[in-house]
């Protein structure tokens, strides 16, 4: 079963197409990272999913329900924490939790206390007087205490210091039971996301460029280094999956986005006979940077 499913979802603001024909699938039990540069359409996608915005065309299904029809029954199982979330800043942390509790039949008071203790939040301080990190943590407590089946995080790490980020990730991991809940996290902070995500969706200019498991993505991306005996010259033609080819002295390096050991080595030897080829695994961050530098434009080159 898919927790989130969109079909040709589009949203236009005036003349700007924020999201274009997005067909995204987030299976139940997965932790999906929604990555992309600024203005890629990540936040708009999330707002469309949560019915904060109406789609211009297409549809989005969240927990099997059309996003336009999401009601209290569905929202009782959805947690949402966003960088730019509107919180009732006049409330204290205690008042926020007291206000939210009656709306959730599955509210776990013991978990609420555990999370409050973990984040060391001052319960009687008004939200408007909290630091940015504490505010996000308060929002997280109010969104985790009922053990949501779907957690949606929109730039949760933005502007947080490393310690608070660590606490935030730990807080999320503490509540999660593998396979039991689904998380969609849109963020620039790829290191933090890498620890959480088992699936990656890449958005650019409102288009979905990638949507696959982190394992599959990391398996097919390799940094390749070809060591030659003499100074290298760029080959006339290279496979479309080779990105960012550089020649420095006798060393040729590039990223192969369709790495397969035998095929890659064969392709290298065809172009660089007698060369030593080494392939190094890449982190999500390295893959993201490579794709960003390649301009996300070579769709054929980055697709699986």
């Amino acid at each position: 079963m898919n927790m989130i499913e969109t079909h040709n979802l589009s949203r236009v603001f005036g003349r700007t197409e924020a999201v274009r024909d997005l067909s995204l699938v987030v299976p139940k039990g997965s932790v999906c990272a929604l990555l992309g540069p600024n203005g890629a359409g990540k936040s708009t996608t999330i707002r469309l999913l949560l019915n904060h915005l109406a789609p211009t065309s297409g549809e989005a299904l969240v927990m099997g329900v059309d996003s336009r029809s999401l009601g209290p029954d569905e929202f009782a199982q959805i947690g949402y924490v966003a960088d730019n979330q509107n919180l009732p800043l006049w409330m204290t942390v205690r008042q926020l939790l007291d206000y939210c509790r009656p709306f959730y039949p599955s509210w776990d008071t013991a978990l609420e206390k555990t999370l409050l203790a973990r984040f060391a939040l001052p319960e009687n301080r008004k939200l408007r007087n909290l630091s940015r990190g504490m505010l996000m943590q308060a929002a997280l407590v109010s969104s985790l205490a009922y053990r949501p089946k779907l957690l949606v995080l929109d730039e949760p790490f933005s502007g947080l210091d490393p310690v608070v980020r660590e606490d935030f990730v730990r807080g999320v991991l503490e509540v999660s039971t593998p396979g039991d809940w689904t998380v969609l996290v849109a963020s620039h902070e790829i290191e933090e996301v890498e620890r959480l995500a088992d699936r990656v969706a890449l958005l650019d200019g409102g288009h979905l460029r990638l949507n696959e498991t982190a394992e599959a993505l990391q398996a097919r991306f390799r940094r390749i280094e070809v060591a030659l005996e003499r100074d290298a010259t760029p080959p006339q033609s290279v496979p479309s999956g080779w990105l960012g080819l550089e020649c420095a002295g006798s060393l040729v390096s590039f990223v192969d986005s369709r790495y397969e050991r035998n095929a890659t080595e064969r392709a290298c030897r065809e172009r660089f006979p007698e060369a030593a080829v080494t392939a190094r695994p890449m982190t999500l961050r390295e893959i993201f940077v490579t794709l960003a530098r390649a301009g996300f434009k070579s769709e054929k080159g980055i697709a699986a």
Binding site: H52, Q85, N86, Y104
Partner: protein, 246 residues
């Protein structure tokens, strides 16, 4: 019902200070009105009329601001307002806001005002007193529904006040222009009653649309159409309808 009361309690806590100030202003208005009524009864020249007018206007403006704050505390026109990602339905929110605004800004002030004034005139339980109370309640409820709809369709108190001024200006513009042009032809009571009923019905329709479907543009269309129809209703009596019929 528990959740509706839960939302009302939250709003009461949020606005306890402005509500206290508003209640104080209302008490001053009531006191001045009572004094004024007493002086009329005793055939003593009325004093302090300016103070009465000023405090009435202050209480009215506070009522309008309070209505805007209460409705916009859980905004419908701002995408991503806090309640929109919580298990709170538009119906629950509408019920909570309507109940609070009706009891606080319509029912209690009308009741207290009428009870005190009628008690002063010693006709508290007369049929005239009940009719007067009923018509006051009816008019204020209609205005409240319309005002709530404007507040629900606007994003902040400034926009709400602007919308309210435009609505009041549009509604009262033609009669005021008539007075200024020395054609003070007041419509009959039935036309005024129908016109207020149109405002209440249009306001309720806009409110339901905004809370249950969150279609802000349609809400504005309904609000605009309501003002036009209510203005026409006020002007219809001038047309020689029987002659047309013949």
């Amino acid at each position: 019902m528990n959740l509706i009361w839960h939302i009302i309690k939250k709003d009461l806590r949020r606005f306890r200070l402005p509500i206290s100030i508003w209640a104080f202003a209302c008490a001053i208005v009531l006191k001045l009105n009572l004094d004024s009524a007493l002086s009329v009864n005793a055939r003593v020249p009325t004093t302090g009329q300016e103070a009465t007018v000023l405090s009435t206007m202050a209480a009215f403006m506070l009522s309008v601001a309070l209505l805007g704050w209460i409705v916009q505390e859980d905004s419908l026109a701002t995408p991503g307002a806090f309640w929109q990602s919580r298990p709170i339905s538009g119906g629950q929110l509408l019920a909570a806001k309507s109940l609070l605004v009706f009891v606080l800004l319509v029912f209690l002030p009308t009741l207290v005002d009428h009870a005190c004034l009628r008690w002063q005139h010693s006709d508290l339980f007369s049929s005239h007193a009940f009719i007067s109370f009923g018509s006051g309640l009816f008019s204020l409820t209609a205005i409240m529904l319309y005002g709530m709809a404007i507040a629900a369709a606007t994003r902040d108190n400034g926009s709400f006040v602007l919308g309210a001024i435009i609505a009041i200006g549009s509604y009262l513009g033609p009669p005021v222009a008539g007075i200024l042009l020395n054609h003070p032809a007041a419509p009959p009571a039935s036309a005024i009653f129908t016109s207020i009923a149109v405002i209440g019905t249009g306001g309720a329709a806009a409110l339901l649309n905004q809370y249950l479907r969150r279609r802000t543009r349609l809400t504005f269309v309904i609000l605009g159409a309501t003002i036009i129809v209510s203005m026409l209703v006020c002007q219809l009596w001038k047309l020689p309808l029987p002659a047309l019929h013949r």
